[in-house]
């Protein structure tokens, strides 16, 4: 049990055998007694003794109370103190051990009384006050941890051990905060923890001590520390070349956020007095003089002289000081906007946030000029008038501001000392009069500077029609002007962040209050809110242009803000004019035009499209996260080599441009829909509700099933049946209860299927089902080897998968074409495809009815048949239905067709055009894909009616589609001739089963009335196997051929909706 060295005997004799015992502690005590002076020779012994003491004490705390009694009785802590106070004997070495022992002691002690005893004499405070060698990393670590451990023991009872009311001593706190700017981050974190733990204790007299004796110096230093940090950050931004200081900047930003969160945590403790002091310091030493001040344009040299002159004249003061004031540190407006955003995102302390917002929104020179009282009054007025529900007691804020506003200009005084590198450790003690003078001085200076510069800007902006004779709200103007993104959106993004942060500040500021301030703020006859909305619309319009230099994130925030600020107030009309709404919609249309250029220009357009949609849905706008990203402080860039996320930079290359176009369109579409109160009905392209899910039980009677063995990478084998649906690849296993039904064990999208043959085994396919979305570099959903019974089945499966994939994709491409209202372009690539597949039938429809919704897709076959004459489409439809009725079509199918009937009128409007388009389209068709398709098409058409006489091989790959064309032809020839239709379709269909899968023949043969006509082509097949015939008998005689081609999509839906009757493509 005890593997201690004591077994082997140490250099010292007579120690008890049991390491963990009272006896051993007594023995160790004797060592301490004998070695009161630390020397080279006894150092090791002392260290080991101190270490053992820790062990025994904790053991005693857990097992034997006598141990602790002995420790206290002998007052062993005093020995500790004695040892550490000795200069000699290699202080670090012994001190580290002492501190470790103390840490172990206070961390592991569980017994309350033991703790009280340990704290009861003043030794612990003396130890804290001891000046250790803090240059030693380990000493520093153990020391600060010791303080932290003690701070965690603080409560209303134990506070008296640490804070001495009479002597005003509180070493735990005062010693700790001395390290607030220690270079080691872990030490700084510990200091913050300690201070927060101290503030948390509800002890009035202690808090009074904190406020009166320490708050001003600590907070002013803290604020100064933060301010210096910000200047460093600003330098980093200013001097950055090509994003090279990215890492450094990112750390500086993270560090600053730490500071802000720390301040916020203090404010959240809600200690009124403390918060007042902190608010005052933050506002008047940092936020207003550095952040807000930096929003005003830097003074141009000529006016500098002017200002200096004026000030000198007005104030009768030494000109030199004023020049120094002119040199107040300032940060770039980029950094200023960013930092202000962070304040509003992180801090929720109402008085602070309100005051700051007020200054930004309403602050002007007259207020500065007339002094602090004006700000206060206006602020108070606004609070009472605008936020009726705001019931907080205002005293604290007013008190705070009363004291504080007077200091407004103090920064200038401090700045002087700051410039000379002297840290102000306490609030400056300027008299009220001088304070006021300084206020006036600064106000005058700011105004003069602003006017001159603003006027210059105005002159430069020839486009601007408004002549601002007076600049009432310079800060708000700066914020709004920053929204201009004619060149780029560098400043605009940060300005948007600030507006967003101000309007979304969680509880510190009420949204309505912000809005009303905005709408009440007038510039001439022109409310700031209108100006803001116009700026936003401007950004949105810009973003929809093809060569836009606006990042996606900017667009997104702009749209979000547009929604926020145009949200109708209860009894009012929406705050958006028809013109403004028109701008938004034309921006959407413009983005659609841009997007059309990318349609099909990239092979992976469909994948991009779907992926962008998913990304948009997934990524909720989170400005707080955005503002943690220091990259937005650097000029916008396009290259992904910076590691900046796609939405936060400009697109690079054609694929990204396509992505951007897609995303801008989605964003605008979504916003427009919100304005119209519409629900999205066309996106996403795949309606998840209609999909087959794993474990669904499906009726597979009359479906094409290909038996196969799935061999996974791990060589696990599973016997499955492969079913290919319109959109999905499904692997089923037979259902145990229902004959002919199967349970889906795997489902994957056909569009993501990749099929490869096996060189060595003709019965084998390598099938990979990728996960949707191109940006995710994840493992495929399925990657396995499929073994089929013979090579014919293997070929069949391959064909179906390949075709299923392209069909699924075509179908979705068509949906996209509808969505972005592709006009004349559509038929040229797609027309030749028409008639070769059911989905092409759909695409052809797009010529006529781009406004057909995707959800109606399943019904296209029906409409198709009626498309020879627009006027009679309805009649045709009815005929179709009756036809289908004869073929035992289920009622549900015809029901589903009816939506098409509804849209047929709009269809017919375009039919004239469509007919024309169709006529010329073959010549228009270009590209290898479409030409090959057109060849197929012509083959299909040519062979259509004759297919039963022609060689069965010819239409092999297209066998399923031919009936459509045939069918159409026959309908064109004689719409009422049922027999023609009946004859045409099964005959061509018969190719399908013959080559693809003989189970399919079941359905062919089951259509007994037409069997004779198909005999010719199927002479071979009819002999093929008796199993087919048997199968036919087993299966219920169903609407076989109808379901397998005409109602292809229809049945898919049918199955999904109701009985899960699986139909193959």
């Amino acid at each position: 049990m005890f593997r201690s060295r004591s077994w082997f005997g140490g250099p010292w004799g007579g120690r008890p055998k049991n390491r963990l015992s009272l006896e051993h502690l007594k023995y160790l005590y004797s060592i301490l007694e004998k070695n009161t002076t630390v020397s080279e020779s006894n150092r090791g012994l002392l260290v080991e003794s101190l270490r053992c003491i820790a062990e025994i004490l904790i053991w005693g705390d857990q097992h034997d109370s006598l141990v602790f009694d002995f420790f206290l009785e002998k007052n062993m802590l005093s020995y500790f103190l004695h040892i550490m106070r000795q200069k000699s004997g290699g202080s670090s070495y012994v001190c580290v051990q002492l501190l470790q022992t103390l840490n172990i002691l206070f961390e592991n002690i569980r017994n309350e009384t033991s703790l009280y005893y340990l704290l009861s004499n003043n030794h612990v405070n003396s130890i804290m006050l001891h000046k250790f060698d803090f240059s030693d990393e380990d000493v520093m670590g153990y020391y600060i941890l010791f303080l932290k451990t003690l701070s965690l023991k603080l409560n209303t009872h134990t506070i008296h051990f640490f804070y001495n009311e009479h002597t005003n001593d509180f070493p735990l706190y005062t010693e700790a905060i001395k390290f607030f700017n220690h270079p080691e981050s872990m030490v700084r974190i510990a200091v913050r923890t300690i201070s927060l733990n101290v503030y948390k204790v509800q002890n009035a007299s202690m808090l009074r001590f904190i406020r009166d004796k320490t708050a001003a110096p600590y907070f002013s230093n803290l604020v100064w520390f933060i301010g210096k940090h910000i200047l460093e950050l600003d330098t980093c931004v200013r001097t950055d070349i090509d994003h090279q200081s990215k890492q450094k900047l990112s750390n500086l930003v993270a560090e600053h956020l730490d500071h802000l969160h720390y301040l916020s945590d203090i404010l959240l403790l809600d200690i009124t007095d403390l918060n007042a002091v902190l608010t005052e310091h933050l506002l008047h030493k940092l936020f207003v003089p550095l952040y807000i001040f930096s929003l005003t344009p830097a003074p141009p040299p000529p006016s500098l002289a002017l200002v200096t002159q004026n000030l000198a004249a007005v104030l009768n003061r030494n000109v030199d000081i004023d020049i120094q004031e002119m040199h107040n540190p300032r940060v770039s407006s980029i950094v200023a906007l960013y930092l202000l955003s962070l304040v509003f995102l992180v801090v929720n302390h109402a008085p602070l946030v309100h005051a700051l917002a007020w200054v930004i929104l309403n602050g002007d020179h007259s207020v500065f000029k007339e002094g602090a009282a004006e700000i206060l009054n206006s602020y108070t007025e606004h609070r009472e008038v605008v936020v009726p529900g705001f019931g907080e007691p205002h005293e604290s804020l007013e008190q705070a501001l009363d004291t504080v506003i007077g200091h407004t200009a103090n920064y200038s005084g401090d700045a002087a000392s700051e410039d000379s590198g002297v840290e102000s450790t306490a609030a400056t003690t300027t008299t009220p009069t001088s304070r006021h003078i300084e206020t006036v001085a600064e106000a005058a200076a700011t105004r003069l500077r602003n006017i001159t510069d603003e006027e210059k800007q105005m002159l430069q902006q020839s486009t601007s029609t408004q002549a601002f004779t007076e600049l009432a709200k310079p800060f708000l103007d700066t914020v709004l002007q920053a929204l201009d993104c004619t060149e780029n959106d560098y400043l605009a993004l940060l300005s948007l962040c600030l507006i967003y942060a101000m309007s979304h500040n969680r509880d510190g500021m009420k949204n309505e209050w912000f809005e009303q301030v905005l709408s009440k703020s007038m510039r001439g006859s022109f409310s700031y809110k209108t100006a803001l909305i116009e700026h936003l619309l401007n950004i949105i319009t810009h973003s929809s242009l093809p060569s836009s230099r606006i990042r996606l994130i900017t667009v997104e925030i702009a749209l979000e803000l547009l929604l926020t600020f145009t949200k109708p107030v209860a009894d009012e009309a929406p705050c958006i004019t028809a013109t403004q709404q028109g701008l938004l919609f034309s921006a959407r249309n413009q983005s659609m035009v841009v997007l059309r250029n990318f349609y099909k220009s990239e092979d992976i357009f469909l994948d991009l499209f779907e992926d962008e949609y998913n990304e948009m849905c997934k990524a909720q706008l989170n400005v707080e996260f955005l503002c943690m990203d220091s990259n937005i402080l650097l000029p916008p860039t396009g290259t992904p080599l910076t590691g900046i996320g796609f939405t936060r930079r400009l697109p690079c290359g054609e694929v990204e441009k396509a992505r951007r176009a897609i995303r801008v369109y989605f964003l605008l579409r979504r916003t427009c829909q919100k304005f119209l109160n519409e629900k999205e009905s066309l996106l996403p392209l795949t309606n998840v509700v209609n999909l087959v899910q794993v474990e669904n039980v499906l009726d597979l009677n009359n479906s094409d099933l290909i038996a196969c063995t799935v061999v996974s990478k791990e060589n696990a084998k599973q016997r499955r049946f492969l079913v290919i649906d319109a959109l999905q690849l499904i692997l089923v296993e037979p259902d145990a209860k229902l004959l002919g039904w199967g349970v889906a064990k795997f489902v994957g999208f056909l569009q993501d299927v990749e099929v490869q043959g096996d060189k060595d085994d003709s019965r084998c396919l390598h099938i990979t089902v990728h996960r949707g979305g191109v940006t995710h570099n994840r493992t495929p959903q399925l990657s396995a080897k499929f073994l089929f019974d013979d090579h014919i089945r293997c070929m069949a499966a391959k064909q179906r998968l390949t075709k299923g994939r392209s069909k699924a994709r075509q179908k979705k491409m068509y949906q996209i074409a509808q969505l972005i209202e592709i006009p004349g372009q559509l038929e040229s690539p797609l027309f030749p495809v028409c008639g070769t597949s059911t989905s092409c039938g759909n695409t052809r429809l797009a010529q006529k009815g781009a406004n057909l919704t995707a959800s109606r897709v399943p019904g296209f076959a029906a409409v198709l048949r009626g498309n020879n004459s627009a006027g009679i489409s309805r009649t045709q439809m009815a005929q179709n239905r009756s036809l289908e009725g004869i073929r035992n079509e289920s009622g549900s199918r015809s029901r589903r067709r009816s939506p098409n009937a509804g849209s047929s009128s709009s269809l017919s409007q375009r039919l004239g055009n469509a007919a024309l388009d169709r006529d010329r389209s073959p010549s228009v068709s270009g590209g290898s894909h479409s030409s090959s398709q057109s060849r197929e098409n012509s083959q299909a058409r040519g062979s259509g009616n004759r297919s039963r006489e022609s060689s069965p091989r010819m239409p092999r790959p297209r066998s399923e589609e031919i009936p459509l064309e045939d069918f159409q032809h026959s309908r064109n020839n004689s719409p009422h001739s049922r027999s023609a239709v009946a004859n045409a379709s099964p005959s061509s269909r018969s190719h399908t089963p013959s080559r693809v899968l003989h189970i399919d023949q079941v359905s062919v043969h089951s259509g007994s009335p037409r069997e004779p006509s198909s005999l010719g082509t199927n002479a071979l097949l009819s002999q093929l196997n008796g199993g087919v015939t048997i199968a036919r008998e087993v299966l219920p005689a169903q609407s076989s051929e109808e379901t397998s081609f005409i109602g292809n999509d229809v049945d898919v839906e049918n199955r999904r909706k109701g009985r899960s009757n699986i139909e193959t493509v």
């Binding site: 470790q100 840490n103 172990i104 981050s185 974190i189 927060l196």
Partner: protein
């Protein structure tokens, strides 16, 4: 004591999973694991040798600092490695791993090496979390996994040293910016890459003597 690098570690996980015991077990071998003594410390340092280089591991257990947002967010940054610890005899500590990991990933620098540790492997009879579950979780989230026992010292060395090795490899690959102390890596004052480190492992001070008895 000179070192080539200093790596800062943090230990995270629910209270009572034995974080500080692990830490003490690793940093100070003089504290022998004893059955009837639960003892831990929240700070420690120890010298190890990797690839012939002296590397100082400085470990901060920040228990009790979870109450404030500012503290949690800042404390993940500035660490090069993190030990994410759960207790194999308490399922809830395993269930909370996702939260811990999310926090860590959100606030830490992306290169931070995280090791998942199932502690108290000596209490196999009271086990609630299978080793396979820990392995699966680690695999899923790209962590290194190990079961340890602070009480028997099993795998404790390995846990800390393997993490250090991974950080060291990342430095060699140039992934870590070692000139940026905010990453939790410090270059030693005297040590230079050409200077072979001193043989054997010495303690950085009395308390961090890593030598075995």
């Amino acid at each position: 004591m000179s070192y080539a690098y200093l790596f800062k570690y943090i230990i995270i996980g629910d209270t009572g999973v034995g974080k500080s015991c692990l830490l003490l077990q690793f940093t100070d071998k003089r504290f022998q694991p004893v059955h009837d003594l639960t003892i831990g410390v929240e700070f420690g340092a120890r010298m190890i040798t990797i690839d012939g280089k002296q590397i100082k591991l400085q470990i901060w257990d920040t228990a009790g600092q979870e109450a404030f947002r500012s503290i949690t967010r800042s404390y993940y940054r500035g660490a090069a490695g993190a030990l994410l610890v759960y207790d194999i005899t308490r399922r809830e500590t395993f269930n909370h791993l996702t939260t811990w990991l999310e926090d860590a990933r959100q606030h830490s620098n992306s290169n931070m090496v995280i090791m998942l540790i199932g502690n108290k492997s000596d209490l196999d009879s009271r086990r609630e979390v299978k080793k396979e579950e820990g392995e699966a979780f680690a695999r899923e989230h790209g962590l290194v996994f190990m079961e340890t026992s602070a009480r028997t010292a099993a795998n404790v060395e390995e846990a800390f040293i393997n993490t250090a090795k991974e950080i060291y490899e990342k430095i060699q690959e140039g992934v870590f910016d070692i000139n940026n102390e905010a990453n939790g890596i410090k270059i030693g004052q005297q040590a230079t890459p050409t200077n072979p480190a001193l043989p054997g492992s010495g303690g950085a001070g009395g308390a961090v003597n890593s030598g075995c008895c």
